[in-house]
Amino acid sequence: MSKLLIKRLLQGVLVVFVLQTITFFLVRLLPGNPFLGERKLPEHVMAQLNNLYGLDQSAWVQYWNYWKGILFHGDFGPSLVREGVQVSDIIAQSFPVSLWLGVLGMSVAVLVGIPAGMLAAWWRNRAPDAFIMMFAMAGICIPAFVVAPVFGLTLGMHVPGLSVAGWDDPLCAVLPALTLGLINAAYIARLTRGGMAEVLSSDFIRTARAKGVGAGRLLFVHALRSGLLPAVSYLGPAFAALITGSFVVETCFQVPGMGLHFVNATTDRDYFLIQGLVFCYGVLIVLANLVVDLVLVALNPQLRSQGAA
């Protein structure tokens, strides 16, 4: 187990390093630069700005300086668009919001998606299955930019306490969490149904049923453990994506999370901010996948022996 952990951690460091390197050079290939305004800057002003932030140096010198800043000073650099603000300040302010929303959204997704998938699998190919899968398909097909305003206009405007958008009281999190949660619940329901349906038609379940094991025990003790594997694999990356924010949901509900920064930093060419956000996302994806691997090993003894080998 510890071998697996160390192996995965080392792989993770490599992944983050490669991700940062690719991002570093790709964003500099985009047309334009962070200082381009709506009005053209005089050349001497542009030159001075590039000089101040070291953007007039060669890409390799900039690359070295960037890593030097992170490794020796823990400094992710300044925002080039909101001058005077550090990248770490922006992430420190927006990440907790996205984390909170992500946790709520994921809770909705798991609490709705897994039971729905289990029920559909139990009654597979019968009316309840068709009914649940119809909703799941709708959840997958209807994009967030439709779901979010519809929730805002229906629930937000008419249910007392709920709010159409904004982040000025705790109930503001309800609709964005519901939007994120239900969309993910749809995927989870389908994955759970698939996994459970396969397990429920396997020989050991038939044997257990023949031996007279009750429905509850059969579902929760015998089938769930293996039936959840596909959903669990999905949960890790989905959770990392959720807690780093969603641009659409944040724009529709005016949530001050990380998703807005992700898109705006790219369109504004805020190089250091893009790097910082990608770093954050990369680390979270690596960690989420690591946790998923560990959970999968715990759920599936076969993997444990493979890991040990």
Binding site: N33, K40, H44, G84, S163, V164, G166
Partner: protein
């Protein structure tokens, strides 16, 4: 948290009602501010916040934009041709109690112009004598026309007559900064200075900084040390950076805003019907137009440019694309500030005669019925309204002239880069005035102007602009500017489409907010009160 939760849903009042009872104005401010430092800020959203936190020598009127009031300057005098001005400062203090002196102004202007500071908006101060040379590092600060004979006197020498100087000075770039606070947090040249953070903020405006969270809010509260503190009509303002007009409109309807920033065109008809009392549509000092790259064939032929311009049916664009939120423009500068743009003959003619003339011009240029005309590219940003407009104009050119253009939709920075490098054929553009004077529009078309971006220039236009800069009276200036604009319109490096109008929603709880063409509202004059609870 539970307490807050109970409080939030307990009384059934909306956020706007609760804020109104506390005297807090909730204002949609379009986007997250880039900076609160007047020397680094560039956006309109920045300007609205900065002018409530800092006060310049003069301040705007709440109803009449042609008027200015005494701000930090108690009084002023000027020489006959308005090229030398002397301002006498009032007895005012910064929010930390230190006096506001003429040196704070000189310090601020030197900072924005300093060649090593790289102020993006330094050009706003180029009216000062030798300011441009200093900004380029070609002379010492002492040569610039700013003198401080004593703490309360500020003498300003300009590079030429500027009868409109006071209007220009309403712009946030002319605000003072607290020299002592800037020095305490990194000094004059530190672009990463932390003096604008809440804990370090020192200002001289009607408000002081209270709180800020990115993409959430920026709040200011009344400055008790402001010299007109007793006349400030509200206790604070919460600026909400809502980019999405649909989200903002929903928030307004749900009682989360007192004044919104923008109603998208698709919602105009619904809002006019649903909330007629709240719906506002005000003229705006902004022109929507297409730039033509006159260095590329066939756009280097003025007949082709005129033909393309004549074939656009502006009335139908205004009615169908922006749903009435604009006025068809046949010249460039929006009317206002005592200026009427030179009238173009096509403004009075019928659509049929314009189209016939367009066809004739195109045939004369060698492209009868569009035959042999190369496929040009019409560049737009990814904004919906621009894309729809481009598709409409594309169809008009196809139908009237038989000319086909392709639409290239670019994301914002790629669009700016392409436009500034003139890597386009036709570019969907807009220009809004920094101050209430036609020069802010017409000067765009000087040969050396950085924002011209069309490759077009004309000696006569440049001469008229020079003459305008040397004119000592406002009337003479306007005449020269009108002549410059007429020369430009004859050369037609642009296709003016319409002068935009601002569409937004305003709660009946708000008073003291009037239509202003520059949208430069002195927010201390805006009162917000919850009528039912009064």
């Amino acid at each position: 948290m539970l307490g807050a939760l109970m409080a939030s849903c307990g009384d059934g009042r909306s956020s706007a009602e609760r804020a109104a009872e506390e005297g807090i104005l909730l204002l949609g401010n379009n986007q997250e501010p880039l900076s609160l430092d007047p020397h680094k800020a560039t956006s309109v959203a920045d300007g609205k916040i900065i002018t409530s936190l800092l006060e310049g020598l003069v301040r705007p009127d709440a109803q009449d934009e042609t008027k200015v009031h005494a701000g930090m300057a108690e009084r002023w005098e000027r020489n006959e041709d308005a090229s030398v001005w002397t301002f006498y400062l009032r007895d005012a203090v910064w929010s930390d109690g230190r006096p506001v002196t003429s040196r704070d102004f000189a310090y601020a202007w030197q900072r924005l112009l300093h060649p090593e500071f790289a102020g993006k908006y330094a050009e706003m101060l180029y009216g000062l004598k030798n300011a441009e040379q200093y900004n380029r590092g070609e002379c010492a600060w002492e040569a610039v026309g700013v003198q401080t004979p004593d703490e309360r006197t500020l003498r300003v020498e300009l590079k030429g007559p500027m009868p409109h100087l006071l209007q220009v000075m309403l712009h946030f770039t002319w605000c003072p900064v607290p020299a002592h606070a800037v020095e305490a947090h990194g000094g004059m040249l530190d672009r990463r200075s932390a003096w604008t953070r809440r804990e370090n903020w020192v200002g001289n405006g009607a408000y002081v900084l209270d709180g800020h969270r990115f993409n959430d809010y920026l709040s200011v509260v009344a400055n008790t040390r402001y010299w007109r503190a007793a006349e400030v009509k509200n206790r604070g303002i919460r600026f909400l950076p809502i980019v999405n007009g649909y989200t903002e409109t929903r928030m307004f309807l749900d009682g989360k805003l007192h004044i919104s920033n923008n109603v998208p065109p698709e919602l105009l008809a619904v809002m006019k019907k649903r909330v007629p009392e709240e719906y506002c549509q005000d003229p705006y000092y902004c022109t929507i137009f297409y730039r033509l790259n006159t260095t590329r064939a066939p756009l280097n032929d003025v007949r082709v440019r005129r033909a393309l311009s004549l074939a656009v049916d502006r009335e139908s664009l205004v009615q169908k694309v922006v749903r009435g939120a604009g006025r068809a423009a046949y010249s460039f500068t929006p009317p206002g500030a005592g200026y009427t743009p030179p009238e173009q003959p096509e403004a009075q003619s019928t659509r049929e005669s314009r189209e016939a003339e367009a066809k004739r011009l195109l045939a004369e240029a060698g492209y009868a019925d569009g035959k042999g005309f190369p496929t040009l590219e019409l560049m737009t940003t990814s904004r919906d309204v621009q894309r729809v407009m481009a598709e409409t104009v594309q169809a008009m050119w196809k139908n009237v002239l038989g000319v086909h253009v392709e639409i290239r939709s670019c994301e914002w920075t790629a669009y700016k880069a392409a436009q500034q490098n003139m890597d386009y054929d036709i570019s969907s553009s807009s220009w809004s005035g920094d101050y209430l004077d036609p020069a802010t529009f017409v000067e765009l078309w000087s040969g050396g102007g950085g924002n011209n971006c069309t490759g077009w220039s004309h000696a006569e236009c440049d001469a008229a602009l020079d003459a305008a800069q040397a004119a000592a009276t406002a009337e003479a200036r306007r005449e020269h500017l009108r002549r410059a604009e007429q020369v430009m319109m004859e050369g037609r490096p642009v296709i003016p489409l319409y002068w935009s109008e601002r569409t937004y929603l305003k709660s009946p709880m708000v008073s003291g907010w009037y239509p202003l063409i520059l949208d430069n509202h002195p927010l201390d004059a805006v009162e917000v009160r919850n009528g039912e609870k009064r």
